[in-house]
């Protein structure tokens, strides 16, 4: 099943597939008429603020809430003991991650705190300001416990065990060994190795995490206004842990101000808001402020990797051997776990290449820092950066060009479908075509010549490549088999209204990436109506088909296929009814541009509004055995492979100032193969935004902790994000290898930019500095690290725990 199926259903006269249609929901956003959670005000609504732990690890000896309770405007003050009758704890493990363990987690601290910022007391008041005032008046007596912060010593016998019931600080351990690795290294023409640090960073969604929990005790209905990616998952989790009838929990998700994997997890403060809403019987709003976000939004990465690679004399990658340690904070995050990231690193390192020999030892360890979990790219940036850096080191050692070693090592085009040494199955990839297109687009030869010419004048420019694979369109193998109620299937319902308009509801969700647009494009194409006749509704679990929402780059590939099949089914229903009315055969008719037409001539026979009028209001004119069904629902589960892999080739061109250590980005290129491109502008913009979210942690972003587990730069004044002035123009080109797993042929694209950028940046910096014979692999590549590597300023001992 490697060849794409026929595309007749997409190749229709009024097809919108492949067109850069603007987003219909953009107008209200540019006019400030969006609807984000904090914009919601409900009658009798109270606002939550939390008293949070200043310590990374401590026992709570006493809590005094007396003063807070008596302040005017305070409606309720809650400790964990006050909520235990309303909520049950959770544990972030999955059955298919063998041996993974974590501790029970409660919405408020239950006697101990395990990281700075952990909520201890919740205050509900008539305004957020009053709630914050009262939260400040709460006093907590702590007994400090030794914090475990350095992931490299977390498993040492001398290190305290964070959760004694777990016996050690090991969350998850995965080992993979294809065998014969040592023998291949022993006989290889070249062996290279390096150690890597992948810094902790975080998502910084511009709209912080926000929730309004509206519980109506009269009918037992809990309505959750949430800023999330997966409404149905949230519905299940709140029902399960609040002990409510799941059928009476409704999640409504309207505009989401950025998510990137941040708003997909279970957060203690948000769960507390749910429990307090049930307890109070009135709406409760919690909106994290930016300082709370930095210490509680999931952090990303935090890996230390040692890796080596073996090459033949011709530059073919033969084997990879690596060790990865990941620090995840005190809990594996529920329900997706903090083990998936390591799994992806193991599965994907060296992914584009035919290296038969592979060994990995990966450990996920607990620490007293904020939790780490799935953020845009999940494991990919580590896997790609390690693999691509090793490719460049191999090229350098063998005196070969980095492009040449990649060409030499790619999985051959005739080898697909291909099973990787980690067991991943690649349907078909286009590494060769992407790299060749990239090299041409960037004028590689010209840039090399310029690089050499400029070096004479001490201008150091570098070119960095990254070829990558990305996991998209997951099957139930990702979470469903592990016991999590996270749907991998998704559905779409299309209804023809009496006006001739189409109302579409879909289980996939919109966070600005353009989901609603591509669903409209597909529905309009499949049914045969102008796109402005399609209205798309997402995010409301009372209205939309049950589905997984947005994760693992699945919206277009899974949700899009459901929309295509629903559109085909609705068109068939329309044609059958039209054939009855027009006394024709369905096969001789088609729907185009909002009208039933004669298929052969294209001559209009009946507008859809007329068909709708007859169907809905003049059923008396139809034969008795004809019941119009102008609605169709279809679901789609990707079952062809565990995942559908995309691929891409990135290149970065930059200049390093050897006197200041400052990196200036000159240009960035991406050749992306996400299968069938539904909307080239949206694909390009997903790619550009993704690249910048990979550039950020490569050059600027890091959550810096001290040895006591205190976050040192938890504000936007201290945490550096990419800004407009420093970012390069990013050229995006396409190669299209549609997947044969679906008729639509679309794969995902949301995360590939983030996956590749850290590798391309790292390789470009090292290429720029190659005259100095230094290599950097400790992200972020800040000016001080570059100057230290160049010997311009002294090497600094890193303090423990950072």
């Amino acid at each position: 099943m490697t060849e794409p199926g026929p595309i007749s259903s997409l190749d229709r006269p009024n097809s919108y597939i492949g067109r850069a249609v603007p987003r219909p929901n953009a107008r209200r956003l540019v006019e400030g008429r969006g609807s984000y959670v904090d914009d919601i005000d409900l009658p009798r609504m109270v606002h939550l603020a939390f008293h949070r732990s200043p310590y990374a690890h401590a026992e709570i000896k006493a809590v005094d809430t007396e003063e807070a309770r008596t302040m005017p405007g305070v409606v309720g003050v809650f400790t964990m003991d006050d909520l235990k009758d309303r909520i049950t704890p959770w544990v972030g493990v999955l059955d298919h991650l063998k041996g993974i363990k974590s501790a029970e987690q409660w919405p408020l601290a239950d006697g101990k705190v395990f990281s700075q910022g952990e909520p201890i007391v919740a205050v509900a008041a008539t305004s957020r300001a009053i709630a914050e005032d009262a939260a400040e008046r709460v006093t907590v007596a702590y007994e400090e416990l030794p914090p475990v912060t350095d992931m490299m010593t977390a498993l040492d016998p001398a290190t305290p065990v964070i959760h004694p019931e777990l016996r050690d600080n090991l969350c998850f351990h995965r080992v993979l060994d294809t065998g014969e690795v040592d023998a291949v290294f022993a006989s290889a023409a070249a062996v290279v190795e390096d150690s890597f640090h992948f810094n902790r960073h975080t998502g910084v969604t511009l709209e912080p995490r926000s929730i309004v929990c509206d519980y109506n005790p009269a009918d037992g209905q809990l309505t959750l206004h949430m800023s999330v990616q997966c409404p149905h998952m949230s519905k299940n989790l709140y029902a399960r842990h609040l002990g409510l009838d799941e059928d009476r929990v409704r999640v409504v998700c309207r505009d989401v101000g950025g998510s990137f994997g941040i708003k997909i997890h279970t957060y203690a403060d948000e769960m507390a808001a749910g429990a307090i809403a049930v307890k109070l019987g009135r709406p409760v709003k919690f909106v994290a402020d930016r300082l709370e976000s930095f210490v509680t939004d999931i952090h990303a990465r935090d890996h230390k990797v040692k890796a080596r690679a073996a090459f033949s004399a011709e530059g073919e990658l033969l084997a990879i051997d690596m060790e990865d340690v990941t620090g995840i904070g005190p809990f594996s995050v529920y329900p997706r776990t903090s083990g998936i990231e390591l799994n992806q690193v193991v599965n994907l390192t060296g992914g584009p290449y035919r290296h038969a020999h592979y060994r990995v030892d990966g450990k996920v360890v607990f620490q007293n820092k904020n939790v780490m979990c799935q953020y845009r790219g999940v494991g990919h940036p580590i896997a790609v950066a390690v693999g691509e850096h090793l490719m460049d080191l191999g090229a350098r050692k063998l005196g070969l060009d980095p492009v040449a070693v990649r060409r030499r090592s790619f999985i051959p085009e005739d080898a697909y479908p291909y099973t990787s040494p980690s067991g991943a199955i690649y349907e078909r990839q286009s590494h060769q075509a992407c790299l060749e297109k990239l090299v041409e687009a960037m004028d590689y030869a010209g840039l090399r010549a310029e690089q050499n010419a400029l070096r004479a004048g001490k201008t150091y420019r570098g070119i960095g490549f990254a070829s990558l694979i990305e996991v998209t369109n997951p099957s139930p193998a990702f979470y469903g088999v592990g016991g999590a109620r996270i749907a991998s299937q998704d559905g779409c319902t299309l209804r023809l209204d009496p006006t001739g308009g189409i109302t579409a509801t879909t289980g996939v969700t919109e966070q600005g990436q353009g989901t609603e647009t591509i669903i409209a494009q597909i529905a309009a194409t499949a049914v045969g109506v102008p796109i402005d006749k399609v209205r798309v509704i997402t995010g409301d679990t009372d209205l939309v088909p049950y589905g997984g929402g947005t994760w693992a780059s699945r919206g277009a590939g899974i949700g899009g296929e459901a929309a295509l099949q629903a559109g085909k089914a609705l068109r068939q229903n329309i044609l059958e009814l039209a054939a009855t009315i027009l006394q024709a055969k369905p096969v001789d008719l088609d729907v185009r541009d909002g009208a039933v037409v004669d298929d052969a001539s294209g001559v209009e026979r009946m507008p859809l509004a007329e068909l709708g009028r007859i169907a809905y209001f003049r059923g008396d004119t139809l034969p008795k055995d004809v019941q119009p069904e102008l609605i169709a629902t279809r679901h789609y589960t990707q079952r062809g492979y565990p995942f559908v892999f995309t691929n891409a080739a990135h290149a970065c061109h930059l200049e390093v100032d050897a006197e200041t250590g400052i990196v200036r980005l000159l240009k960035y290129w991406v050749v992306e193969d996400c299968g069938r491109v539904i909307n080239p502008k949206l694909v390009a913009e997903q790619t550009r935004g993704g690249v910048v979210q990979g550039i950020g942690p490569a050059l600027y972003e890091e959550c810096l902790y001290n040895a006591e587990g205190q976050l040192l730069n938890g504000s936007l004044a201290d945490y550096l994000l990419p800004m407009a002035a420093e970012m390069p123009d990013i050229e995006v080109l396409h190669v299209e290898t549609p997947t044969g797993t679906s008729e639509l042929g679309a794969k995902g694209v949301g995360e590939a930019g983030t996956a590749g950028a850290p590798a391309a940046i790292m390789n470009a910096i090292n290429d720029a500095l190659s005259p100095f014979e230094v290599t950097l692999s400790d992200m972020p590549f800040t000016p001080d690290k570059i100057l230290r590597a160049l010997g311009k300023i002294p090497i600094r001992e890193k303090s423990a725990g950072t």
Binding site: D289, G512, G689, P722
Partner: protein, 162 residues
């Protein structure tokens, strides 16, 4: 506990006088949002992200760094007012055409910042656009489409001689 101190202020918001009793600590952004103007977004509350950008007496300002009481007697314009005036229409159209927004949370502030640039420099270079917009974070787009949109509008406006 004593009753909270409030001060009565009158601010002209989008051309309409608005009188309210506010606590001295209330930020302008919180004041505007409490008055129903939800297009002013609060992203960091410490003056970095730019999502709360509004115009105070004709100049852009951080709604989170000005107190509402400081605006007594001043004229404030938000994205709602700037939209109603039609002044941003070409920028808004260009943002849509270029897909210069994804989640839209930064967009009102970004538009007001871009508008201010174009009022002072008719045809800024791409780098000048990038530098001017560096007080406004966008986490979704990577900025290029925003720069494209602003550049396009600058050129069109210059071409029309306005």
């Amino acid at each position: 506990m004593s009753t909270r101190l409030t001060i009565t202020i009158t601010v002209t918001v989008n051309g309409e006088p608005m009188t309210a009793a506010v606590e001295p600590r209330m930020s302008l952004a919180d004041f505007l949002r409490a008055e129903g103007l939800k297009g002013t977004h609060v992203g960091c509350e410490h003056g970095v992200c730019g999502a709360c950008t509004v115009r105070v007496d004709g100049r852009t300002a951080r709604g989170c760094l000005i107190l509402a009481v400081q605006c007594d007697g001043l004229a404030v314009e938000t994205i709602e007012g700037a939209t109603d005036s039609g002044r941003l229409r070409d920028l808004q159209d260009a943002f849509i055409d270029n897909n210069a927004l994804q989640c839209g949370f930064c967009t009102p502030g970004m538009l007001l910042a871009a508008d201010e640039l174009l009022r002072h420099r008719a045809t800024p270079s791409r780098q000048a656009i990038r530098e001017h917009l560096s007080g406004n974070y966008c986490r979704c787009t990577g900025y290029q489409a925003i720069v494209d949109a602003v550049e396009q509008v600058a050129k069109r406006r210059a071409g029309q001689g306005s």
